[in-house]
Amino acid sequence: MQNGKTLGEPLLEAREISLSFGGVKALRGVSLAIRRHEILAIIGPNGAGKTSMLNVVNGFYHPQQGTITFKGETRRAMRPHQAAAQGIARTFQNVALFKGMTTLDNIMTGRLLRMKRGLLWQALYWGPAEREELAHREAVEKIIDFLEIQAIRKIPVGRLPYGLQKRVELGRALAMEPELLLLDEPMAGMNVEEKEDMCRFILDVNDEFGTTIALIEHDMGVVMDISDRVAVLDYGRKIADGPPDAVRADQAVIDAYLGVSHG
């Protein structure tokens, strides 16, 4: 593998996923495995079904056919909050932060699943509830340090520039301490420096926390640089899957990007 790390067993395996909306077929029998500790890039032209694939994986869309096995458990459909509880976190193409809340509160929401104290303790905000809150605050502060966003801690995210919002969104996903992190175009609309920062964060997350990452990205330079494996979707089908260099040389992929007609 590219940086010499050993990839583990498949963490998630999607088999023969088909999804359609009315008459539009978004995915047609896509099978895709995501292995432990890898960075998998999903690429493809617009409308190829990349985001739909992520939506299926984290339970936002329910496929008409196919199964998903995550950590050895097979299922057809689950609700997004169940996916979250099992350790799947994600970010969105168009930032999906809670605009009325501060950076700190946004990232704190990533800890909600881990906070257990009931209503009465919360109302008292005393003893166990306070200790729990502070423990999670500390965990969140580590993420804030990691992402270098200390200065915007108390600013409502609606007022932040786009690049920072994407970073906060990554922070919220990290706060969930996920096993599988899905990133939908984490670098869209960023300038070069912001992209470099984001690449660094993604590689560090993968390296330091051992988090498995699947990301959608359009910037081929970035894809080739950071991913261990690349899967290519076109018209709802998977047309290639393998190491970056092999995929780059694949004739079907070149055709898809150059727009050779599909006879």
């Binding site: 909306f21 985001t51 939506n55 936002f60 969105f92 193409q93 168009n94 999906a96």
Partner: protein, 311 residues
């Protein structure tokens, strides 16, 4: 056992004994429903053209009726009073656009909704301050005699109301389909930004829509006012248009009509046959609960389209 009797056996027995009476009740209900439809129509127009949920539609009905009846009482001839009330409603549309809508453009829908609650209170106060809060009888010579058609008792006035509603809907349909203003309106309803970018003047459109809604309100106000007298409770009756909208969907004119008919007939039948079992006056809430139950099964309304959520 007693409950079973009150809820099932007695009402159904009553219906089976006298099916003509049921027919009368249904027809009476349908004709009340027409009135709900008239109010709902005003809501739909504004919602379609601006995405604003106009809570003030009910009070616009009251306000228009108050202005109309007030001027009649001052001795103004019928046609003059009618024209001057139309003028007032158009002026009101101008003021609302200038004072409320323009400063709030691009705000969240919920903020605009609350602003229309503000308009509701303002107009309630203003209307009653100027014209007084007493009940005013309104009689502009609409026929009110009972008729027997095919063995069923109907009221001439209800038939008139239905005819007026039909004319109004036909007129609006023509206006929307055939005129350039109508085309512009539909464009705005579809996409504000796109409409702006092809040069449709949003402000003018809003004034027109609110004026039309005001005039529809006036028609509804005259109908309701003739029936119940012009008084504050008109604004509350108009709240019944809300469940109508839920049944019909917020953007559908046929939906407003059909929804109104369902609510009107449904609540009359419920009141007459099931009301006694509950102690009466279930008309107060029946429409809302009906709408609520309906929503649980079909959140998009009768004629609304299914929404696909995207991220």
């Amino acid at each position: 056992m007693e409950l079973l009797h009150a809820l099932v056996i007695d009402p159904i027995g009553a219906i089976a004994d006298n099916p003509e009476f049921l027919l009368e009740v249904v027809i009476g209900g349908l004709l009340t429903g027409v009135m709900y439809s008239l109010v709902a129509l005003g809501f739909v127009l504004i919602y379609k053209a601006s995405g604003i949920f106009n809570f003030a539609q009910g009070v616009m009905v009251l306000f228009a009726a108050l202005c109309f009846v007030g001027q009649l009482q001052l001795g103004m001839p019928l046609v003059m009073a009618l024209l001057s009330t139309v003028a007032i409603m158009i002026a009101l549309a101008f003021v609302i656009e200038r004072v409320v809508l323009r400063p709030l453009v691009n705000q969240e829908p919920i903020i605009l909704f609350m602003a229309t609650i503000g308009i509701t209170f303002f107009l309630t106060g203003l209307g009653q301050l100027v014209w007084g809060g007493d009940v005013k009888t309104l009689d502009i010579g609409l026929p009110k005699d009972p008729l027997i058609i095919g063995g069923v008792l109907v009221n001439e006035f209800d038939l008139t109301a239905a005819a007026v509603a039909g004319l109004l809907v036909a007129g609006l349909a023509l206006f929307f389909q055939k005129t350039s203003i109508g085309r512009a309106l539909r464009a705005v309803a579809d996409d504000h930004q796109a409409a702006l970018s092809v040069g449709i003047p949003l402000k003018t459109i809003w004034v027109i829509v609110w004026s039309v809604a005001g005039i529809v309100g006036l028609v509804a106000g005259i109908m309701w006012g003739t029936n119940l007298g012009v008084q504050f409770s008109l604004a509350l009756v108009a709240l019944k248009a809300l469940p109508v909208l839920i049944l019909g969907g917020f953007t559908s004119i046929p939906g407003a009509i059909v929804g109104g008919l369902i609510v009107g007939a449904g609540e009359k039948v419920a009141e007459v046959f099931w009301g006694p079992a509950f102690g009466g006056a279930i008309e107060d809430w029946f429409a809302y609960v009906l709408a609520l139950v309906f929503l649980l099964f079909r959140p998009q309304g009768l004629f609304g389209e299914r929404i696909i959520e995207r991220v």
